[in-house]
């Protein structure tokens, strides 16, 4: 049962959606597939005054070959995108991350835009209100300090999008439409590094599309999880090689995906890239696997991934 009461609106274009957002004075949320949002509403993690459903905006659900770019509407379903020929032909890391997202049925409901804009997760946060109240509210709930690392005044929640990790290795841009017009920015700039409020997007902005340079890439994706059938990543690793240059991204290890460039010979420079990433990470005991183990698994999965990708190249 959803205990919060809200209005429901289903605009037919993006401008109308933005106007509605303003009408509710920012106390509204945009809804696409709902696989992340509805559970959060059920837990009372968010109590909007209005839910603005974007699914009637058909133009948001299209995939276009723009020559130099592949433009993916934010409301394209994850399953449909994973079946797309352009994705299979040009972006193998993305195809692999799409297929590793949750389970097939949720891939058919969830959208790529919603997947990118999913909230950060923490064992101490994604709980019922009763559970959270008994512990006292954490930073992300508006409290004074972190519950995963008692006393800490930073949030350690993890951003668990499989596909953001892969898209960060493919130089993807995102397109945002808001009250002040439309803008494009690198996907990596969507993340501000604060786990309690991970995104830099402005109030009322709608993620309309993801744009990927249409260049053949080699790549892959590795995911650490307990259940192969479902689960958010406990570690997400993506590697893509475009025009002879590689990019490694590590996700589910904090507020954003961590990205590092890798040049040839890959099996050597990957170690430098890993060092650079590992130095920045501060994992907390807030996921179902121990942080020391998760950290140790990063190089293991990265080497495995690079080997796999290079094997395909030969």
């Amino acid at each position: 049962m959803i205990s919060s009461k809200f209005y429901y609106r289903s605009p037919s274009d993006v401008q109308e959606a933005i106007s509605l957002y303003q009408e509710f004075q920012g106390k509204a949320v945009y809804l696409s597939g709902g696989t992340d949002l509805i559970p959060r509403l059920k837990l009372g993690l968010q109590r909007p005054r209005a839910v603005i459903d974007l699914k009637r905006i058909r133009t948001l659900a299209e995939i276009d070959d723009k020559g130099e770019w592949v433009r993916i509407g934010a409301l394209v379903r994850i399953f449909n995108l994973s079946q797309n020929e352009l994705v299979a032909g040009f972006f193998p890391a993305l195809k692999a991350s799409l297929q590793a997202t949750s389970c097939e049925a949720l891939q058919m409901r969830g959208t790529i835009g919603g997947n990118l804009l999913q909230d950060t997760r923490c064992l101490f946060y994604n709980q019922s209100e009763f559970w959270r109240k008994s512990k006292g509210f954490c930073l992300k709930m508006g409290g004074e300090s972190c519950n995963a690392v008692p006393g800490a005044n930073v949030c350690f929640a993890n951003y668990c999008s499989d596909n953001a990790t892969a898209l960060c290795t493919l130089a993807a841009l995102i397109e945002l439409a808001g009250p002040d017009g439309t803008r494009r920015l690198p996907l990596e700039d969507l993340y501000g590094g604060k786990a309690e409020k991970p995104f830099t997007s402005h109030e009322g902005e709608v993620l309309t599309a993801i744009l990927i340079p249409k260049k053949k890439s080699h790549g892959g994706y590795e995911k650490l999880r307990l259940r192969g059938s479902i689960d958010y990543p406990l570690l997400a690793l993506a590697f893509s090689v475009v025009d002879g240059t590689g990019k490694l991204a590590v996700g589910a290890v904090g507020a954003r995906p961590y990205v590092a460039g890798v040049t040839q010979p890959f099996h050597e420079t990957i170690e430098e890239a890993l060092d650079a990433i590992l130095r920045q990470l501060r994992l907390a005991a807030n996921a179902v696997l121990d942080p020391a183990y998760r950290k140790r698994m990063i190089p293991v999965l990265a080497r495995r991934l690079v080997k796999k990708v290079l094997g395909e190249e030969r």
Partner: protein, 159 residues
């Protein structure tokens, strides 16, 4: 609070409802229409026991708002059998002993129906991938996969 008018088809029957914006499809089916075949397990979209077909796609009804469904077609487990004659999948689940406590079964069958509707002869791997969207906590999935496999094979002489 407002009510949203929703015209949808449920198991082939048109129905027009006025629902609260925060009512889920599962609540509409179970509490309003007395279609209690879809079960509430986790209520968070994880277990799949509330799966129904929404415009042909296996969907977790506990995380869909009924307000979203104006113009939609919903098929629940109750919509599968033709009067007293069971659907091939239902028959197959019985024959193969793919049911223990039965709580996950409606969801399993609707997920399988979604698969068979888009692929007449799925491979074992495709069946496993589809059915792994649904949790069964009684046992393994062996007999469930076998039941779907058997239902996918057209009866002899029918091909």
């Amino acid at each position: 609070m407002e009510r949203i008018k929703v015209a949808m088809q449920v198991n082939g029957e048109p129905s027009v409802l006025e629902v609260r914006p925060y009512e889920t499809l599962l609540e509409t089916l179970r509490d309003r229409m007395e279609l209690t075949g879809a079960k509430e397990g986790c209520g968070m979209g994880a277990c799949g026991s509330c799966t129904v077909l929404l415009d042909g796609i296996p969907t977790r009804s506990c995380i869909v708002l009924t307000a979203e469904l104006d113009g939609a077609e919903v098929v629940t487990i109750e919509g599968l059998s033709d009067g007293t004659k069971l659907h091939t999948l239902q028959q197959s689940f019985m024959e193969k002993g793919a049911v223990q406590c039965g709580f996950c079964t409606p969801g399993m069958i609707m997920t399988a129906k979604g698969l068979l509707d888009r692929s007449l002869t799925p491979t074992r791997e495709e069946i496993v991938r589809s059915i792994s969207s649904n949790l069964c906590r009684c046992t393994g999935y062996k007999k469930i996969v076998e039941a779907v496999e058997a239902a996918a094979v057209p009866p002899a002489g029918d091909a």
